[in-house]
């Protein structure tokens, strides 16, 4: 058995887990045990792939060939490895958190919840390891569909409406733009397999390349580029663990990951540079960063503010990738990791506040830090990472993005990064300040509650510690990110 088999194994472990979770329907403890075991097994499986990827090997495997010439195939390369490691590790933490949250809030249909969660993770692995655009597209669509029942989990009219926005936008963009772009690529290049430096043997006309880039960037709705971002705030009606892992890590990262992959492996940095048509993408992404930050400033609902912050942070990755400098691509890759750890901590904290204090608005949070020191401490660390200050990992990714932008002499990108740092500080710092330094106001009421249940606190402490830890020891993500760039021709 070769290493390559671990890739399909990683995709099938969560799917098998989903079946087992469904079978353990009547025994919640067993069911949760299955979830945790599956998550751990998946993480170990992705870890087992790591050494060969660090060695510079890239395991490949062909599974089937649904359309002649376009196989269903997996190919583990550094960027996908990084994404898979993050998602599978955070699934373990989120599972611990979910147990505390779902039981603490007495949510209904918990089995369904865990089943679709596992399917979503399986398709995330598929996105991470996809060897060609068709495989990626298939997993991308399954990810959309499997998260729909999670978004509409509560079944309320509001949830159904949000589900409509969610599915509508994601399906419309993926079928309307992405599928057409994929078929066009297939027609032009005769292949859909990811290849460093691009798939086009002789580059198409600049206008064609520009149109294709447009179709891809807006076809990958999960990257939440404005004006196609509305599904993300809508998805916030889901239970908080879903927002935390899926709508801050798995789903949205699948989006920006796909963007990075398309730019590096389908177009190729050099080819895009020569065509000279990627400027508009930098502007769109930059505008998204700033506009989303301004909208985030005005949100009082904590989860909505976090959601708009995610929209803005995702566009960092898109912008860094479209700046087209190798170092900015490194920054993009690390930002996938940095934002994942920081944002999941913030969502965990939001869920902890809801579970312990039943508060959802920022204006209710005055003085809550005294009752929930662990939670709000983690929240502060997450905020630091979002703003991009040391000693949090967000600083590392911003550093490389800035270096890349300097390399490419892209003044616009530099200005956007600096401006948005200020904006990030403006919408996160007041929350932390209010929580710790304002006295409990009449609106927030005197705290009748303590910390959230133990699994929740444990989970958010782990991710907060890692947010700091990755700043001190960023070797692994850096190694993988540079592995991606080093092999560039």
């Amino acid at each position: 058995m070769t290493v390559a088999w671990l890739a399909p194994l990683a995709v099938s472990i969560p799917l098998a887990g989903a079946v087992l979770i469904g079978l353990a329907h009547r025994r919640p403890n067993l069911r949760e045990a299955v979830t945790l075991t599956t998550a751990t097994a998946l993480f170990l499986c992705t870890c087992a792939l790591l050494p060969s990827v660090l060695d510079g090997q890239e395991p490949r495997i062909v599974l089937a060939e649904p359309i002649p010439g376009v196989p269903l195939a997996l190919h583990v390369e550094p960027l996908g490895m990084l994404f898979a490691l993050i998602a599978s590790f955070l699934w373990i933490v989120t599972s611990i958190y979910s147990i505390g949250y779902m039981r603490g809030n007495r949510e209904s249909h918990q089995t369904r919840y865990y089943v679709y969660f596992a399917i979503a993770l399986g398709s995330t692995m598929g996105v991470a390891f996809a060897a060609n655009l068709l495989t990626l597209f298939i997993c991308y669509e399954i990810l959309t569909l499997s998260t729909y029942p999670l978004v509409t989990h509560h079944g309320t009219p509001e949830a159904v409406r949000a589900g409509r926005t969610y599915l509508g936008l994601l399906l419309a963009t993926s079928i309307g733009f992405q599928l057409v772009a994929i078929l066009w690529t297939w027609q032009l290049a005769g292949t859909l397999s990811f290849r460093l430096g691009g798939v086009f043997a002789d580059p198409p006309q600049a206008t064609v390349t520009g149109l294709l880039l447009f179709l891809y960037l807006f076809g990958i709705g999960k990257a939440a580029l404005m004006p196609l971002h509305r599904w993300l705030p809508a998805a916030m009606v889901a239970p908080t663990p879903v927002s935390a892992l899926l709508h801050a890590v798995a789903v949205v990262k699948a989006g920006v990951f796909t963007v990075a992959k398309v730019i590096v492996y389908v177009f190729g940095l050099d080819a895009l540079q020569q065509a000279g048509i990627a400027h508009w993408a930098v502007y769109v992404a930059g505008a998204t960063i700033l506009i989303a930050s301004v909208i985030a400033l005005r949100q009082d609902n904590l989860k909505r503010r976090l959601a708009y912050s995610t929209v803005s942070q995702l566009s960092y990755v898109v912008m860094a990738a479209t700046v087209l400098a190798p170092l900015s691509v490194v920054g993009a890759a690390i930002h996938i990791a940095a934002h994942a750890f920081g944002k999941i901590t913030l969502f965990f904290a939001a869920g902890a506040i809801y579970t312990a204090a039943h508060k959802t608005e920022i204006s209710q949070l005055d003085g809550i830090g005294r009752a929930m020191p662990w939670t709000m401490g983690a929240f502060a660390i997450g905020s630091l990472s979002m703003i991009g200050l040391p000693p949090a990992v967000g600083f590392v990714s911003k550093w490389y993005m800035l270096l890349g932008a300097l390399d490419a002499r892209n003044g616009f990108a530099i200005a956007v990064i600096l401006a948005s740092t200020l904006l990030n500080a403006a919408y996160f710092a007041p929350i932390v300040y209010a929580a710790f330094f304002r006295p409990p106001s009449k609106r927030s009421g005197v705290a009748q509650h303590g910390e959230a249940p133990f699994p929740i606190v444990l989970a958010l402490t782990i991710t907060a510690v890692l947010t700091l830890g990755l700043f001190c020891v960023p070797d692994l993500p850096l190694q993988l990110a540079f592995g991606l760039v080093r092999s560039l021709p």
């Binding site: 359309i67 002649p68 597209f137 159904v160 027609q187």
Partner: protein
């Protein structure tokens, strides 16, 4: 020995079985007998496909009268595939039929119902297998007349008017068809299709042949519910018994599309049709209109059966679109969609049959709460619905893939856009039903229901399993469709 007569057996077995079925007065007996017959028919169809794939075109002289004078049965990759679809769906739907028919058809008429069903099957198979234009008309009438009977058996009294409407339109279509065949006979003195294809070029420029072509196109267009000749279809599908709707939706229109392909490409030849007439553009416009208008109308239907019926009109548009590209990829897309849509729509109508069996209605408001009460049925509906949208790993995705690819190949961006918009409209009308099934509680007025019996669920899920299977393994479907496409285009040049 007997294998030599396979082409004849394909039609003769159900044809003889149909009157025999009348003699079996007991419903279960009539059902069992029809099921066995349909399974044997399916076996014959499979054997025929295997033989065609290995040995090439089969020609069979009925009664040993040699070809241009006698009736020739001619099996090539195109119709072998159609035979497989028709026979396969005929058998699967019958497997489902027992409980559903006992509920929807009065006991004393059950055996008559099954004999009409077998006749309808005979007609469809006959249309597909024959190589003789007039013989095709005969089978067309057999299948049409029996389907009028089948439709009129619906419980709703409106089934009678629906059947009558279909009868009127169908008869006009058949008459047009026979006028066209008559004109061709007048000009060439032959009815054999291969013979016709050789003799037609000499007289191709005459007005008579052109008139014949016009009559044939409109006649076939009526049968296949080509937009805007589709008006009979929604009523017929809505008020017919569940089993009949599933069978007709999955076979009747497909066979008509086949006839269109046969006449366009084999008899007249692509040169005549697409160079002499700008028919490809004409068809493409009709296909666009069909896809967009019918999908939009489907959005607003209060009855789910009717919604799916309009969706069928739209899906026929996709097949016609595939044909109108006149390229190998386009035809592959059209033919593959013929197969894929048969499976998906057949399964969807069976799922509705399950709901009609338990709830007694297919009004969308009566589906509230079905998601929790009949989880397997609702699940099947979702899978079929995803297929209609064209989500990857379902058969529908494969069709869309080839159709969009064909559009891009030829630079028809508007066609690619229409396919995409059609998919999104499908997402809207499918999701309307899904939301009602899963997110609305059971209305207080409706008694709680149980999951459908296994005898109905199983065939429904076989269709859904096939939908998923042919979405991930296309060796059979795309393989055969591509061969058929190349065969059709070669026959033309």
């Amino acid at each position: 020995m007997i294998l030599r007569h396979l082409p004849a057996l394909q039609v003769v077995i159900p044809l003889i079985a149909a009157p025999a079925c009348v003699l079996l007065r007991h419903p279960a007996l009539a059902w069992g007998f029809s099921l066995v017959v349909s399974l044997v028919t399916l076996a014959v169809a499979i054997l025929l496909l295997v033989r065609v794939m290995t040995d090439g075109v089969l020609s069979y002289a009925l009664g040993s009268w040699a070809a241009p004078w006698g009736i020739e049965y001619r099996v090539d990759p195109v119709n072998a595939f159609v035979l497989l679809i028709v026979a396969g769906i005929g058998a699967l739907v019958l497997l489902f039929a027992k409980a559903s028919v006992e509920k929807e058809i009065p006991r004393e008429r059950v055996s008559l119902f099954y004999s009409a069903y077998l006749l309808c099957l005979t007609g469809s198979l006959g249309i597909a297998i024959t190589g003789d234009a007039f013989n095709l008309f005969v089978f067309l009438e057999i299948s049409s007349l029996s389907s009028y009977i089948l439709i009129s058996q619906g419980r709703d009294r409106r089934a009678l008017t629906a059947a009558f409407q279909y009868l009127t339109m169908g008869t006009i279509g058949a008459t047009f068809f026979v006028i066209g065949v008559g004109l061709l006979y007048m000009m060439t003195g032959t009815l054999n299709m291969m013979d016709l294809s050789q003799r037609l070029p000499e007289v191709a420029t005459t007005r008579t042949v052109r008139a014949a072509f016009a009559f044939l196109t409109v006649g076939i267009g009526l049968k296949l519910a080509l937009f805007p000749l589709h008006l009979w279809l929604p009523n017929a599908y809505t008020y017919a018994p569940s089993v009949v709707t599933a069978f007709l939706a999955a076979t009747a229109t497909k066979v008509a599309v086949y006839v269109l392909l046969r006449f366009f490409f084999t008899v007249f030849g692509a040169d005549f049709i697409f160079r002499t007439f700008p028919l490809d553009e004409f068809l493409m416009v009709l296909a666009f209109a069909g896809i967009l208008v019918a999908s939009t109308v489907a959005l607003f239907q209060p009855n789910v059966k009717r919604l799916l019926a309009y969706s069928s009109v739209a899906q026929i548009g996709y097949m016609i679109l595939g044909i109108s590209f006149v390229s190998a990829t386009g035809l592959t897309g059209g033919v593959v969609h013929l197969f894929n849509h048969a499976i998906m729509k057949g399964g969807l109508f069976l799922a509705l049959g399950c709901i009609a069996y338990r709830v007694g209605s297919t009004e969308i408001t009566d589906l509230e709460g079905i998601g929790t009460e009949m989880p397997w049925t609702a699940g099947a509906f979702v899978v079929g619905g995803l297929g209609l949208i064209g989500i990857p790993l379902t058969a529908g995705f494969i069709s869309k893939w080839y159709l969009i690819l064909a559009a891009i190949e030829q630079g028809y961006w508007h066609a690619a856009a229409v396919v995409v918009i059609g998919s999104l409209l499908a997402a809207l009308y499918v999701w309307r039903v899904v939301e009602v099934m899963y997110f609305r509680p059971r209305p207080p007025g409706r008694a709680p229901v149980m999951e459908a019996p296994l005898s109905m669920l199983l065939p429904t899920w076989v269709f859904m399993a096939l939908t998923l299977y042919f979405g991930s393994n296309t060796q059979l479907t795309v393989g055969v469709a591509r061969q058929a496409a190349i065969f059709l285009l070669r026959g033309a040049s």
